[in-house]
């Protein structure tokens, strides 16, 4: 079910009304589980079986790891869990990509008969929920987490609908205590509801959802035509056109993905669950590593805790640290999709981190240089960082290698032509105006910390004006085609 459809709005209103009305309050979380499965089944049909399989696998393996005292057996159980989850992910997401590479290799060696593609449907959200379940078993294995007390509790953690299909990737250590706290309160101090909708959470949640819808439906969806126009066939485009396309796509994907995250976090908060933030003004990052502390935070922290650190992180030699960075970002790129451009995107980001770390190691004086702490120094750092970030977005957006090489060449080696760019700007005036507005708003959120809370704290008449403006803006620029969230594909 897409968040940006009337279907979801109706679903969510019915869900809230039912939760508020359920008399047998201890069944509220069972109801929430059923609702989450409905949410998934609504658009994914039989692929819900994979979600349930992943849930069952990790619930029982998690318990077995916890109860087993033998470290070899524990390790074996962990391997089974990892193999199961990654096998599922690998088969459904990467099988055809692997076949394509295999066939290509076969062609090079003149081997006859290509292996036919499996043409499997990509299960929506599989990359997100498998990472959640992996973190659960790994945390139990590490002794950092007690296994879930009941299957329904664990199933709700995996299937909780706000974050099910596109994150944020929630850790069991974050979600389960919140659920347990609600259930314990019911038993211990007789609080009437397990899941209560309280005024403060409702107001902040709705504010977040409104901002999310605005980012997605007002900004991202209306910047998309400009991006599509440029990158449908960039061959022959001027440098400035490619740069414009890269910036526009950077804004589009940020509006799209952070919009989804805001809606998810807002919806969860209304139900009384706090999900981790996923974005923190990424286009004000002053270095590549700073960018990854601000962009898709739940994924980057997952990769850090479950991949980078186990590989040795930065505790071993410099060479090993660089290799770890490259490997983690390569896999991070591959996580986004089974395509060469995502791998290149990952490798590019890996090399940014590697070069940045190398420079910092070779010239430690730069770290404490007072110039980079001044306003001017920070602005220069932001521009240099973002130049490379937007360059990498080109690899994310293009359709094939030829488009990629052409676009990158034009992005790097400016041709100083501008007639075509002016024509594109004139054709896509609305997108350009929205991009300017987006920059202004992004700057405002940078200057005014925690704008969301400030909006939530507005008195009701002003808050109504805010919701009215958001709602009217979305309605007026709605083009009848609710676009998919980009991260649904991953």
């Amino acid at each position: 079910m897409l968040f940006n459809t009337i279907d979801f709005i109706i679903f969510f209103i019915v869900l809230l009304a039912t939760i508020a009305a359920i008399k047998h309050r201890k069944f509220q979380h069972v109801f929430l589980l059923i609702a989450s499965y409905f949410f998934f089944y609504y658009s994914s049909n039989y692929l819900i079986i994979l979600l349930i399989a992943s849930t069952l696998l990790d619930f029982y393996i998690g318990r077995a790891i916890w109860n087993n005292k033998n470290s070899v057996k524990k390790k074996l159980l962990l391997i089974i869990s990892l193999a199961g989850n990654l096998g599922l992910l690998g088969f459904f997401k990467y099988a055809d990509f692997a076949i394509l590479q295999f066939n290509y290799l076969g062609e090079q060696f003149n081997l006859a008969n290509d292996i036919p593609f499996l043409n499997l449907a990509l299960p929506i959200g599989i990359s997100f929920y498998t990472f959640q379940t992996i973190s659960y078993t790994v945390d139990i294995y590490r002794g950092k987490l007690k296994p879930s007390e009941s299957l329904k509790e664990f199933a709700l953690f995996v299937a909780f609908f706000p974050q099910l299909v596109a994150g944020p990737i929630v850790r069991a250590s974050v979600f389960l205590p919140q659920l347990r706290e609600k259930m314990n309160k019911l038993q211990e101090i007789g609080v009437k509801r397990i899941i209560s909708i309280d005024g403060i959470n409702l107001k902040i949640g709705i504010t977040l959802m409104a901002i999310g819808f605005l980012k997605k439906m007002f900004f991202a969806d209306n910047i998309a035509p400009l991006v599509n126009d440029i990158f449908s066939n960039p061959i022959g485009a001027e440098s400035f056109t490619i740069i414009l396309g890269a910036i526009a796509f950077g804004f589009q994907i940020y509006g799209d993905f952070s919009g989804y995250s805001d809606i998810a976090i807002g919806a969860a908060l209304i139900l009384g669950f706090k999900l981790p933030i996923n974005f923190n003004r990424p286009y004000f990052a002053i270095s590549p590593s700073d960018f990854w502390h601000r962009w898709h935070i739940s994924l980057s922290s997952w990769l850090r805790d479950y991949l980078y650190i186990p590989l040795g992180g930065n505790k071993k030699s410099c060479g090993r640290t660089y290799l770890n960075l490259m490997l983690v970002m390569f896999l991070g790129g591959l996580w986004h999709g089974a395509a060469t451009n995502f791998i290149i995107w990952g490798i590019l980001h890996g090399s940014y981190l590697f070069v940045h770390k190398l420079i910092m190691n070779k010239f430690p004086i730069l770290k404490n240089n007072s110039f980079f702490k001044t306003k001017r120094g920070k602005i220069i750092s932001i521009f240099i960082t973002q130049y490379f970030i937007f360059l990498a977005w080109i690899t994310f957006r293009v359709q094939n290698l030829e488009h990629l090489t052409y676009s990158l060449q034009k992005y790097i080696l400016l041709d100083f032509q501008y007639m075509q760019t002016i024509e594109i700007i004139l054709t896509h005036k609305i997108s350009i105006i929205l991009m300017i507005l987006f920059i202004i708003l992004h700057y405002v959120t940078f200057k005014k910390h925690d704008l969301k809370t400030k909006i939530s704290n507005l008195s009701l008449p002003f808050w109504i004006i805010f919701l009215f403006s958001v709602s009217l803006s979305i309605l007026l620029l709605y083009d009848g085609n609710p676009e998919d969230f980009i991260y649904f594909k991953f």
Partner: protein
């Protein structure tokens, strides 16, 4: 206290939403309905010709030259004045709103060019949900399909209507530069005359197609049937034909959607006892394409008009 606050917040949200919807509807209701107005303008004029043939369809009929078709018919002893009333973005629902104006002109034949995407369920970018092994849940939003709006055409795409109004007030159709005579709603565009060679055609991003609902649930089909019924009730001969598509589009046309589309075509053909002419793959491999679904509009694609004239003749002789 908590309850009161929750209630106040809920009421505030409702208030904001209702207010925004009212303002939105007010704006929309006051936006001009371009398609309707353009049709009103055209049909209020005197439309020449005793025996008229009207060609309807989207940009896929852009390459049909009405004068060329008229000449081809004349060569075979059939005297008709042909009008290409195709309009970019045309859909059955919008066309149904203007069909009375067409009927009043009493054309002898109405030719409608149709294509798979005219039967798409929703937007062109939606993920296809064609993998339904277990029973599917009916779409919640479809519950509201029974609501009839006076300006449903504008409501379907407020952004389009709004931008169109801001950027250019209703055009005087007589001021538009047309690609050929008798094509009042088509605007001359030099870009579409360019043939993109096959290698470059592959480089253009493919237009994806979203799911096509089966015949019994397809709302687009419903409107097409209404058009057919109204024309047949008024003894106007209707000819349907599938517009041409390139090999690239056809190769990537998802199998499920292909099957459903074929079933829809069979359904129209059977219930209305009409033969549906197919140009869908006739020129698929030729080097005559502007993009994956549109023939370039120049002298090299005159065969399209001639072929269409050919099956009009076949239908006349029936």
């Amino acid at each position: 206290m908590g309850f009161i606050k929750t209630r106040n917040i809920t009421l505030s949200v409702l208030c904001a939403l209702i207010l925004s919807i009212i303002v939105f509807l007010f704006i929309i209701w006051n936006l001009p309905d371009h398609l309707f107005s353009a049709n009103e303008q055209f049909f209020s004029q005197e439309i020449k010709g005793e025996n008229k043939i009207f060609i309807l369809g989207s940009s896929h009929v852009y390459a049909l030259n009405p004068i060329l078709i008229s000449n081809e018919l004349q060569k075979n002893g059939e005297h008709f004045t042909v009008y290409n009333l195709g309009s970019p973005g045309d859909d059955f629902e919008e066309r149904e709103r203007t069909i009375e104006m067409i009927i009043e002109e009493e054309p002898k034949i109405v030719l409608y060019g149709i294509e798979p995407r005219a039967f798409e369920t929703s937007g062109r970018n939606l993920v296809s949900s064609s993998y339904e092994v277990l029973p599917s849940i009916p779409s919640i939003s479809k519950l509201f399909d029974f609501i009839e709006f006076e300006k449903k055409g504008v409501l379907k795409n407020p952004k389009f209507a709004l931008i169109r109004t801001i950027s250019k007030p209703i055009n005087d159709i007589n001021q538009i530069e047309n690609p050929y005579p008798n094509s009042p709603f088509l605007t001359y565009d030099e870009k579409v005359s360019k043939i993109v060679n096959l290698d470059d055609l592959y480089k253009i991003e493919r237009e994806s197609i979203s799911s096509i609902e089966p015949a019994e649930k397809n709302s687009n089909l419903l409107y097409l049937k209404k058009i057919i019924d109204k024309l047949q009730e008024n003894d106007i001969k209707m000819i349907l034909f599938l517009t041409p598509h390139s090999k690239i589009f056809l190769d990537y046309f998802p199998e499920n959607e292909r099957i459903v589309f074929q079933e829809i075509i069979n359904e129209i053909s059977m219930t209305n006892e009409m033969f549906i002419h197919s140009e869908i793959d006739r020129y698929a491999e030729l080097n005559v394409w502007h993009d994956h679904t549109h023939l370039a509009v120049n002298n090299n694609t005159d065969f399209y008009s001639k072929d269409v004239a050919g099956f009009i003749l076949d239908e006349i002789k029936k």
